[in-house]
Symmetry: C2
Subunit: 360 residues, 2 copies
DNA sequence: TCGATCGGAACAATCGATTTATCATTTGTA
DNA sequence: TACAAATGATAAATCGATTGTTCCGATCGA
């Protein structure tokens, strides 16, 4: 990458001044015209000439110079828990689309990697490398730093409401916006689906018990059950994290209880997210539980993989695409008005598949 | 993000000149010392003082200014086919680690999104937003533009050898480096595993027939079969793309042939990648084929999901982490010496799981 | 003792785009 | 007719870090 030696010849950079000279005008004027600046007072033909020359020469502005002068990088950082999770794909797409509409680019990051590398964290957050940050909430250890992060760069937390963990350490505390979907409605929809299929005892395998996300999801289930005159039994609940491994362990724990107690068992489980659902399906097979004959399973979040599992997984989809777009909009709207945005539209949608069936 | 109004107060930026003034030296000297520049002739105590002040004030260099002067952004673009594919995770991690070791950051991109947005493509490639590009090869339509891309920014293609599609359109053609793992050894390993289990008729569901990646993978299978005195029958081959849907369709096509021909069928299939493997498992279940009793399946690439499928999927892992690190190294080594790097170390590793079993 | 050398550090130029202030030239109006 | 206002465009300053050059004083060899 030294550009020296007998290597290939790269096209020399075309500068704004090159365009200006070729068009017979000054650089500032060219700048105004090319940026469609309101105060670009120039004769129509001059404008046309500048645009034509820029096009012909293949002029592309030097981002570094522009950033320096405008103290604006044109980049938004999007930091999620785990880049490999199919769950965030729609969020990323939504955010990318909205960002692109405002001439912004997205830089993707992974919370664990960011926390593991202090240097990277510092540069990312304090180095003015991004104009704003969209952060997936609900990560202990990261939520605690949200205050510090937000003090350095405008920040929006997605997929989680404000949590007690988010301390605005010290004075000059900065509050951040939160953008998240209507979680209770989603799990309510799943629960009602299972109730419709005749299930009366329904369990839950979820992420961290005290995470705001879990609380909201659990609430949706409880509400639906209560309305049906039923309840959520403590022994039918398992918590862990949001991974497939955790779902697998969750089912094992439940199965063990079922062996011990001889007190009946739930005939359907709600999975806190798709990864947990995948773990449950895998563990159920190993435990000799047939899905859906012996156990129905329904999970939060719809991803491409849901249709390719054996059996295919019943899910509810949340408007993550819109969460992404709304987060970018909120970020660009300025930090003056931190607020919570709950996306109730579009509504969560149920995707019934083979993992849930009528109770025999 | 306007920073105006009654919004929260953000920490004012600490400039190099602030550090210099506080330390009682000039900015250039502070710059040299902080960057550990060889020609930084400064008294030991002066150095210490500068470092201490920088630390105390929380100085972080302004990337825009640095980029402008040094014409170096500190960013490397990594562009893969599909960000949601678990296959690229290790590649990303490897590239990130190596990049970080050289003070570089990674900007992730998605080929389809990049191709869909001309503006984004242009800025990404021609806007000097990144110092180098690592591109996942084997994408028709993108391979054709590699020549143009490489002419604008140093580029390394990963996971695919040079293909005929890569035309260096026009004069001043630029050749790029290719970094990829030992594909034939991987599929050979899978095939030998299946042979060991007693299978004598083995099929293949792969990606695009003429893609270099498929050719290499197919070759590994053919070699292993030939050594065992067997061959790959044309009717046991299906091609498509690298998606789960394609794997699903692939199995359907094969199953149809088996119905028609009454001429026997393969008892084991090699899947061109994990996504195809997932599709095969799903479709097999729907076709009433039990895996592994009726059909063994083994796939290229080992991902977290392999262990969570039903049944768990036998795979072979390629050193994608090392492909990532090697790609970054090749990029940073300079464009003077484009070359093909075939990573034969570490060797592909077989991960036998439940989807493959001894022929009954 | 004089010039050469070297350590220690500052000065000035530079990267490329944007923004503010400024200067001409018209056009419109009292 | 003369002066204000609008139009069209430029000169100069700026963003913050880096790099090449220069400067000063002290030490050293001849």
């Amino acid at each position: 990458m030294d550009g020296s030696g007998s290597g290939p010849v790269r096209r020399a950079a075309v500068r704004l001044s090159d365009v200006a000279r070729e068009a017979g005008v000054s650089a500032p004027l060219a700048s105004r015209v090319l940026n469609g600046h309101a105060s670009a007072r120039a004769a129509a033909e001059t404008k046309a000439r500048i645009l034509e020359v820029a096009e012909r020469l293949g002029y592309v502005p030097n981002v570094a110079a522009r950033s320096l002068r405008a103290s604006r990088t044109g980049l938004i950082g999007l930091v999620v828990h785990d880049l490999s999770s199919p769950i965030y794909l729609e969020l990323m797409r939504g955010a990318r689309a909205e960002a692109a509409a405002h001439q912004y680019f997205l830089v993707l990051g992974d919370i664990d990697e960011l926390l593991a590398d202090d240097e990277a964290f510092n540069i990312f957050v304090n180095g003015r490398r991004v104009d704003g940050l969209i952060v997936q909430g609900g990560h202990q250890g990261f939520d605690q730093r949200i205050g510090d992060i937000a003090r350095a760069v405008p920040t929006v937390v997605v997929n989680a409401p404000a949590s007690p963990d988010e301390t605005g350490a010290g004075s000059g505390s900065v509050t951040v916006s939160h953008v998240y979907p209507d979680e209770p409605s989603a799990t309510r929809l799943l629960t009602e689906h299972l109730l419709d299929l005749g299930h009366t005892r329904i369990g839950l395998v979820s992420g961290p018990r005290d995470s705001m996300t879990n609380r909201l999801r659990e609430k949706g289930i409880r509400d639906a059950l209560e309305e049906a005159g039923l309840g959520l039994r403590p022994e039918d609940l398992v918590f862990g994290d949001w991974s497939a491994d955790s779902g697998r362990r969750g089912l094992r724990v439940l199965a063990e209880r079922w062996h011990d107690e001889h007190a009946g068992r739930p005939t359907a489980l709600v999975a806190g997210n798709t990864l947990i659902g995948i773990g449950i399906l895998g563990a159920a097979a190993e435990e000799g539980l047939r899905v859906p004959q012996d156990l129905s399973v329904a999970a939060v979040h719809d991803t491409w993989i849901s249709e390719h599992l054996v059996p295919t997984l019943t899910t509810v989809s949340l408007p993550l695409h819109e969460v992404g777009t709304a987060a970018v909009r909120q970020l660009l709207a300025g930090s003056g008005s931190p607020r919570d945005v709950v996306l109730t539209e579009p509504r969560p949608v149920l995707h019934p598949r083979s993992s849930s069936a009528r109770l025999q």
